[in-house]
Symmetry: C2
Subunit: 339 residues, 2 copies
Amino acid sequence: MSAIADVARLAGVSKSTASRALTGNGYVSVAARARVEVAAAEMGYVPSGIASSLATGLTRNVGVVIPYLNRWFFAEVLEGIETALIAAAYDLTLYRLHHEAARRQRIFDYFLVRKRVDAVIAVGISLSPHEVRALTALGKPIVGIGGDVPAISTVSIDDVSAAKFLTAHLVSLGHTRIVHLGGDQLDQMDFAVHAKRLAGVRQALAAAGLSHPGDFREVAYSIPGGYAGALAVLADPSSRPTAIVAGCDEIAIGVILAARQLGIDVPTQLSVVGIDGHHLAELFGLTTLEQHPNRQGERAVELVLERLVPGAGAIANEQITMPVDFIVRRTSTAPPHME
Amino acid sequence: MSAIADVARLAGVSKSTASRALTGNGYVSVAARARVEVAAAEMGYVPSGIASSLATGLTRNVGVVIPYLNRWFFAEVLEGIETALIAAAYDLTLYRLHHEAARRQRIFDYFLVRKRVDAVIAVGISLSPHEVRALTALGKPIVGIGGDVPAISTVSIDDVSAAKFLTAHLVSLGHTRIVHLGGDQLDQMDFAVHAKRLAGVRQALAAAGLSHPGDFREVAYSIPGGYAGALAVLADPSSRPTAIVAGCDEIAIGVILAARQLGIDVPTQLSVVGIDGHHLAELFGLTTLEQHPNRQGERAVELVLERLVPGAGAIANEQITMPVDFIVRRTSTAPPHME
DNA sequence: TCGCAGTGGGGAACCGGTTCCACTCCACAA
DNA sequence: TTGTGGAGTGGAACCGGTTCCCCACTGCGA
């Protein structure tokens, strides 16, 4: 209700001086500033963000486009983004991207364009060239998380290397029959992460001369997905692998549960490694590569904010690769002796 | 860049007519409307939500205050809220409430008040009277999810009845030594949900004449929490309960894992029931009470939107109790015969 | 023929801030 | 003494829509 004009009147100054006193821009005498501050406090004055946005063209609001809220990686990333934005006094407007093309289109054409956000962070989404153009045409910073796209700035881990490293770890332990349980190769979410991880596994296998058919099985990216996939892969004792590289920790946990179910001991009869650093990894003693999604979210916010500081013209796009931590626990060891 | 004034010029009408044509308010001839629409399409005109908000006083934006993003219940609720808001063409601004008092205060005093939102949905938060006053003073609808607070509208399940029902289920199967593994009784998050569930368990035990010391153990609200708690509770075979009522499905799953670890068969030696309807419940064959958090989120949005329609003056607060579904799976059965 | 209601549309005020511009002091240097 | 420049301030324009108010025109009933 009470506008800055009321504050100005109470303080006995003009609107302009009141604004300058409260924002800190421009010259104001200490006396005038004090009077304005007292008046504002007295009236419980709260500036209208909307009006301020209209006048300055800055919304102090960042749009986050994300496909899932209830998956570990995405929830962690979102938490990191939120923490970093709040610390910088920015709001976060959430847009969940649906698979359905029409609703997806709507997010881009309707919501994001309406000048309600200063920048956009896209999490785990392969943006189409059309979508990238639509966003860059707005002149707003846009940062992707989960993969690298040349046209925009991105934050991600090196998925190929990660999978390669884990596979090499198993190879170095002596495993020769290694199977990868990973996600849908055609999934357009996720910057083709699934395909990259498979490629990493295959590179490591090829380097060790261990390439073989049946080195990959597609499963749902979840504990039940890993469970179901492992039941199938481990069913036949004669052809059973001695180690499994899971596409993510949840798949790995599903594998461990399935192995228990089948009476296969982990790790003496089966080694399992994952990628993520999921909260449950420790409980299951899972060897994994931690990727700290919340740090990725925070880093993405840094990139955005750098590009939002007034003076700094256009900053070139950056493709940032985040470090990972290899945590060896109890699920990976040497394979059993040949029977 | 292109404002409505440009559209009006191109269409050869005044700003007012262009606005009327595009918003549908007021009289516009079909010819004028058509010309405006063509001009807008041609210029790729997108209205500035900010300017529109300033003029109308409506932001088409709802603030959601939530303490966790990476917990199942909260992620599900958020997904339901998001879906319902997008469908109604509303934006969703996310505020994560930190435990830390200062940051919590900041959310309320700084972010929520700045006229950026039309309404607030608070998920799993016991609002202090001061906070409720601060919000209602804004004259904005405010709806809580996860508990009932007389001063505001709320959506929740009946936690006391839920816990009572599950306990009675175990009693009816013949169990006499039942233990509840639940959350921190003093947790101010969550509308004292933990305390309500314990109360429900105790009511059922008392009704069956089965009250006994050691009927409750506090654990972290997670799979590792349930695991650790169960290891302790199940350690001594002589005093071991025959059934456990878990405060949530994740605790229940932790209990199942701990039982397996200890060589205790579920359900022949130990029955376990949960509350939630977690994604993993099916994989573990868990008997549970599904509470459909996404529906709670959607319902909360309905309450908010009802209170936001222009004509409808003040609508009285409502305390809505959502139905739950009892799903009997494989983890609950009769207790073993006395040895 | 006059009056009135209903359409249609333009001008201007308005939402609540920010900022440009012009102007006044006043100190200090030339 | 005049000039210069920076501090400090108020008035007014502006951001980009929406909406109030008023006027014009048409058609219809009295």
